[in-house]
């Protein structure tokens, strides 16, 4: 059974029917199974990031439904959706969006700040998340004292500290060079191997190659793999498999 079900989702900005309306998503449907690693590719302005924010319970679609673990996400109130994000989702942003005034441990602890846990438990969870991304020894460093790759891994640690069932990533290596980008992608691969469901937007085919399945979006619609011999194979189908 699919963990995430996106049904005929459309998203338009601007007043509908005003002529100034911009339709970014046009009837997108897809499913993601638990433990799956899905990559979403597409040209700039194709609707990748919009689809990711819809999946992230942050951007109410104009039409269609998002169901995660049986929950109709956009039927929830705004505050309940905030709770949903906290319980179900982990975000890794392209710019990482780390708090520059908090050290690595504090940055990772941010999602725990509003949980009714003891300070000790919060600390242990944050340290464990840092260890998972290989930053256990950098807990006291400020983001500015970390390399680009380390910042990317720190952003992943923050995203997984709550143990969310679904990890969403928006071009996590977009600002990194190839070597540090690979460093970050290895973390995604390892997490997925450990059972983490990952949905990642990327421009980078090598990153996408790590996914079980690659989706292509063009002009707001899911499209066949432009590189596939049989275009029908590229649509919402598993790719050849995880890269080693």
């Amino acid at each position: 059974m699919s963990f995430v079900v996106v049904s005929d989702v459309s998203k338009a900005y601007g007043a509908v029917g005003s002529g100034a309306e911009t339709r970014v998503l046009k009837g997108v449907s897809l499913e993601v199974r638990e433990g799956e690693f899905v990559a979403l590719m597409g040209p700039s302005g194709s609707g990748k990031s919009t689809l990711l924010t819809v999946l992230g319970a942050m951007n109410r679609p104009t039409a269609g439904r998002l169901v995660v673990d049986g929950i109709d996400v956009y039927a929830l109130s705004e505050e309940r959706r905030a709770d949903f994000r906290r319980e179900y989702l982990g975000f890794v942003f392209q710019q990482h969006h780390l708090m520059p005034f908090l050290n690595a441990l504090e940055n990772v602890s941010l999602p725990l700040a509003i949980l009714p846990l003891s300070a000790r438990e919060k600390r242990e969870r944050a340290r464990s998340a840092l260890a998972k991304v290989g930053l256990a020894d950098k807990a006291a460093r400020l983001p500015s004292q970390l390399s680009g790759g380390e910042q990317g891994r720190l952003a992943i640690a923050r995203a997984i500290v709550n143990g969310p069932p679904l990890l969403l990533a928006d071009e996590p290596t977009g600002t990194l060079d190839t070597r540090t980008g690979d460093e970050v992608m290895r973390v995604f691969r390892d997490l997925n191997r450990a059972g983490q469901t990952v949905f990642m937007v990327t421009h980078n085919p090598s990153n996408a190659a790590l996914a079980h399945r690659v989706l292509y979006i063009v002009d707001g619609r899911l499209a066949p793999d432009p590189h596939a011999a049989d275009p029908a194979e590229g649509l919402c189908l598993p790719t050849a498999g995880l890269a080693q």
């Binding site: 942050m58 905030a82 982990g90 520059p100 908090l102 504090e106």
Partner: protein
């Protein structure tokens, strides 16, 4: 990691802005504290002076048969043998529970006497008390001392040819008050070379010779047509030893209603009619309230400016922190969590500003007090004022930041995280 940790870290990160906010709130609170403290001190002083400036309570015998006007106050039964007051009654007035509030208790005996073929109202008074009560009196001559010394009102003196105008000018110069004259003693006459002078200092009143110690400059009041002598002397002269016509009382009504003092005197003197001079009480209350209203209005304006400053700074901070707030919303912070975090920052800043402002206001009041107060009364460190300062600072901080905080909580996280 708690929301407060984030708030503290944010304040540490923006030390300059936090210091600016603390300074803004401090200045507002300091101004309000200084104004209110000074106005309270001045108000107490003005109140005290107004309390001492004339009587605000009059005690007369309980008799409504006839009345005689005295100093704008209707005094009943003063020249008839009804139940008179006595010296003992004046002493009992001084024994009421609120006796510490009594600034002046001035007993009087009034009687009409014939002076050189004219009927003149003679008042026996305790000059010590009377001079405290009638601070506006000024005289030419000296303060009466002996049993046969008289103080004569200006119109009475003129009618009895006791005074003469210099160079035909009838205007009256500014001359020292009675209290000042008393201090001048022997130099009094040299100082009184204004526009009228006393030309005769002997007067026969109902066959008894008196010395005219001084003549009051015109007051426009009933005393212009009266003569004043020492109480015991007048009592003996009128054949009413130990008797009184009325007792004028000046009560300090700062923290107690004059009605309470009236009630207590009434209890002590069941046979007397005690009434508050409502006009005096009302004038005092209005003057004092006007001072307070002025201080409150200025403080209000200053604090409003403080709130606007916080509003501007916090609005700027929200714009500056759009990305940060968006991230927090994206990772599951509720709107209430965002508001809590921002308000916590303002709360910390406001508390610091309130305490600093209170201390600065107190110091400013101490420095400025000598310029505003004649008595230079000391200022007390009032914990209630400190608490009020902090509470006001918190209210100002909350008023200035609630809208920016609400706006921050409504930020669309999907837009906010795109913001660079």
């Amino acid at each position: 990691m708690r929301i407060s940790t984030i708030a503290l870290a944010n304040l540490r990160r923006r030390k300059g802005k936090a210091a600016f906010l603390v300074a803004g709130i401090s200045i507002g609170i300091a101004t309000a504290v200084a104004l209110l403290t000074l106005s309270e001190t001045i108000r107490d002083e003005v109140g005290l002076q107004l309390d001492q400036f004339g009587a605000n309570i009059v005690v007369v015998p309980r008799s409504n048969s006839l009345a005689l006007d005295y100093g704008g106050v209707t005094v009943s039964g003063v020249s008839f043998d009804v139940a008179q007051l006595s010296d003992e009654d004046a002493r009992r007035v001084r024994d009421i529970p609120y006796r510490s509030r009594l600034a002046v208790v001035a007993p009087k005996l009034l009687g009409a006497v014939e002076v050189e073929g004219r009927q003149v109202l003679l008042a026996g008074v305790d000059f010590e008390e009377e001079l405290k009560l009638k601070r506006w009196w000024r005289l030419v001559g000296e303060r009466p001392r002996g049993e046969t010394d008289l103080l004569v009102g200006y119109e009475a003196a003129r009618a009895l040819s006791l005074v003469e105008h210099a160079m035909g000018d009838r205007s009256v110069p500014v001359v020292p008050t009675l209290a000042q004259t008393a201090e001048m003693k022997g130099h009094a006459h040299q100082s009184m070379d204004g526009h009228f002078r006393v030309v005769r200092d002997r007067l026969t009143v109902a066959g008894r010779e008196y010395r005219v110690a001084g003549v009051l400059t015109p007051t426009g009041g009933r005393e212009d047509e009266m003569m004043f002598g020492r109480l015991d002397g007048v009592q003996a002269h009128l054949g009413k030893p130990g008797q009184l016509s009325l007792v004028e009382v000046s009560a300090l009504c700062q923290d107690c209603p004059v009605e309470d003092i009236v009630a207590q005197i009434n209890q002590q003197l069941p046979n007397a009619r005690v009434s508050a001079v409502q006009q005096a009480v009302r004038a005092r209350t209005e003057t004092v309230e006007r001072l307070t209203r002025f201080a409150l209005a200025v403080s209000g304006v200053v604090l409003l400016i403080g709130a606007l400053m916080i509003f501007t700074t916090m609005s700027g901070a929200v714009v500056e922190r759009t990305k940060e707030i968006g991230v927090l919303r994206a990772i599951g912070f509720r709107r209430a969590h965002i508001i809590k975090g921002l308000m916590l920052e303002v709360l910390l800043v406001s508390t610091a500003g309130g305490l600093l402002g209170w201390a600065a206001g107190l110091l400013a009041s101490r420095a400025l007090l000598p310029y505003f107060s004649q008595t230079g009364a000391g200022l007390e460190v009032d914990p209630a004022l400190a608490a009020l300062s902090v509470l006001t600072a918190l209210a100002v901080g909350a008023a200035g930041s609630i809208y920016p905080a609400l706006r921050a909580s409504r930020l669309d996280p999907s837009e906010a995280v795109r913001y660079v």
